[in-house]
């Protein structure tokens, strides 16, 4: 059924495949940029990946205005301010972000500051508040999960006030997303599994949210099909370039899907688990996705039944009776999690993930105030969240 009204934007030009990095200089010139600031983290710098990007830029006649490699695991307001200062001091005209969700979110935060002229990022918190284009931003993801290279969201921590600042705007979408298989080859199996489950959660929740639309559905469907085929291969053999590239595409597709259709209760609780109990996001998604699906099942069971096709393939779909497809889809998600638990030790309960029982109420209260809740197809209150948490514990 077509929604009465929807909006969709995926502004990022996608460069996917062999030697994608080497095309970055061409894209920068297309965007009118010639002096990017390269953002990354220490781990990637030590692995030599940032050097590879710098070599690719040099081969195309581009010299970075600077490199900032001290981005922490959680993007923070202080780091964003520091980088914005460096950007201005070095007279940069664009940003190239190499890393996972934290690096990409930091880059988006920096882009807000340097493009708006504001000094305090907190003044621009909110949804669709930014009213002008930002500086060119090229995103080079090194995980296959968050989809930040294709999303309009940035979350920056404000440790001083102990809150997370959330920014949602179409202007935050990177101009170019670079998917090069070289960048995820060294991801350990457990991280590959967890980030892959994150991408799956994005796609499933986008397909069933109240903001879903035909275009986001197409993206989500493609993402789930790729995850079905390639995530197990990428976990089993990290050096499989085809699997790595397919998962990078799946993560981008799922990111674009949820960027235009939002997520729901699984992500609301997952964010809270991360904030309260420091559970890694991908692990939280692996634990919570089947429980969230069970919670929503009476509302969007038909959609789950449709998803059995990309989740399990045509044969399983065809031989499963119609009324059983929703449950079978949820079972497929569970089986995938169990497979990765056997192969990589991926936690499948909140307790295994390090959550203590005393934290459950605080997690529930935090989840209630997460913006993702609004797009969940079913109403969720404190008791509902506690029920999900107890079942997932």
């Amino acid at each position: 059924m077509l929604p009465k009204y929807y909006e969709f934007q995926n502004a990022a030009k996608i460069l996917s495949g062999r030697n994608a990095l080497e095309n970055i200089p061409f894209e920068l010139k297309n965007l009118g940029a010639s002096r990017p600031l390269l953002l990354t983290d220490r781990v990637l710098q030590d692995m030599g990946l940032s050097e590879e990007v710098i070599r690719s830029l040099a081969a195309g006649g581009i010299e970075p205005g600077g490199v900032f490699a001290d981005i922490p695991a959680d993007s923070s307001l202080e780091v964003v301010r520091e980088i914005a200062g460096l950007y201005r001091d070095r007279a940069c005209d664009s940003l190239v972000a190499l890393g996972g969700g934290s690096v990409l979110d930091t880059a988006k935060g920096v882009n807000i500051l340097v493009s708006s002229g504001h000094e305090d990022l907190r003044e621009l918190m909110g949804v669709e508040i930014l009213r002008r284009r930002l500086r060119p931003l090229i995103a080079i993801p090194t995980t296959a999960g968050t989809g930040s290279e294709a999303t309009l969201v940035a979350v920056i921590a404000d440790p001083e006030h102990n809150i997370k600042l959330e920014f949602i705007s179409y202007h935050l979408l990177p101009d170019v997303a670079v998917l090069d298989p070289r960048l995820t080859l060294s991801l350990p199996p457990r991280v590959t599994a967890a980030t892959g489950m994150d991408a799956l959660a994005h796609a499933v929740e986008a397909y069933t949210s109240i903001q879903k639309n035909p275009v986001s559905d197409a993206y989500a469907w493609s993402a789930i099909s790729l995850i079905r085929d390639y995530l197990p291969r990428a976990v089993a053999d990290g050096r499989n370039e085809e699997a790595r590239l397919a998962m990078a595409n799946a993560a981008l597709l799922a990111g674009a899907a949820f960027s235009n259709a939002m997520v729901g209760v699984v992500h609301a609780i997952g964010h809270a688990c991360g904030g309260v109990s420091r559970v890694p996001h991908g692990v939280a998604m692996a634990v919570l996705l089947p429980h969230g699906m069970e919670y929503n099942r009476d509302k969007v069971g038909e959609a789950y039944g449709e998803l059995l096709l990309p989740l399990a393939g045509a044969e399983v779909y065809a031989r499963t009776p119609g009324q059983a497809r929703a449950d079978k889809a949820i079972a497929c998600v569970r089986e995938l999690g169990l497979k990765f638990q056997r192969e990589t030790g991926l936690p499948l309960t909140l307790r295994e993930a390090g959550v203590v029982e005393q934290d459950l109420e605080r997690i529930a209260q935090t989840a209630l105030n997460d913006g993702a809740i609004i797009a969940n197809p079913k109403e969720v209150d404190f008791e509902d969240i506690m029920g999900i948490l107890r079942r997932a514990f």
Partner: protein, 174 residues
């Protein structure tokens, strides 16, 4: 009258933008504000949400591009209507246009579907925004008859007071 240039075309005044949607929104916001303040004192769930707000917090609901607006503020622990438009407000919802605003204010769609349809922007802390959304859902449950509230709310809440009581408090102030 203030002359404005919009897209190269000079328009005579802001009054040209005040069609029937604008006037209907103004009336609806007037009543919504009073109902919100009433619910904040009569429904413990709304009161509980407001208790969690910082003292002095200001909330603005405004219809772009030229109003109308509803401004609320927390003073001395309770919620009050504000005469003056806070600038800036701590939390602001800006409906993108009067037609979109009217769909929400007249009960054609709820706040969650309005968000899904990109009918408004939100400036401020999104976590605070979720508290406001919960309050608005409760107020809508009081203001609209079941035939509307059952359609626009994901799960209509149980009413702790009668609709008549909220309406009386909104109209007469007690």
């Amino acid at each position: 009258m203030q002359s404005l240039s919009w897209g190269g075309v000079v328009v005579k005044s802001r009054r040209q933008f005040r069609g029937w949607h604008w006037r209907a929104c103004r009336a609806a916001l007037w009543f919504l504000g009073r109902a919100f303040a009433a619910a904040a004192s009569l429904d413990p769930r709304v009161a509980g949400e407001v208790t969690g707000w910082a003292e002095g917090l200001t909330v603005l609901l405004e219809v772009e591009p030229y109003g109308p607006y509803l401004a609320l503020g927390k003073r001395d622990g309770s919620l009050h209507l504000l005469r003056r438009r806070p600038d800036p407000a701590d939390l602001a919802i800006y409906f993108k246009n009067p037609a979109g605003a009217w769909r929400v204010l007249s009960g054609q769609i709820g706040i969650a579907p309005a968000y899904a349809e990109h009918r408004f922007c939100l400036a401020g802390d999104i976590a605070m925004g979720m508290s406001l959304v919960r309050c608005l859902n409760l107020v809508e449950a009081y203001l609209f008859p079941p035939v509307l509230s059952n359609r626009i709310l994901k799960r209509p809440p149980q009413l702790r007071r009668s609709r008549l009581r909220i309406y009386t408090a909104a109209i007469f102030g007690f």
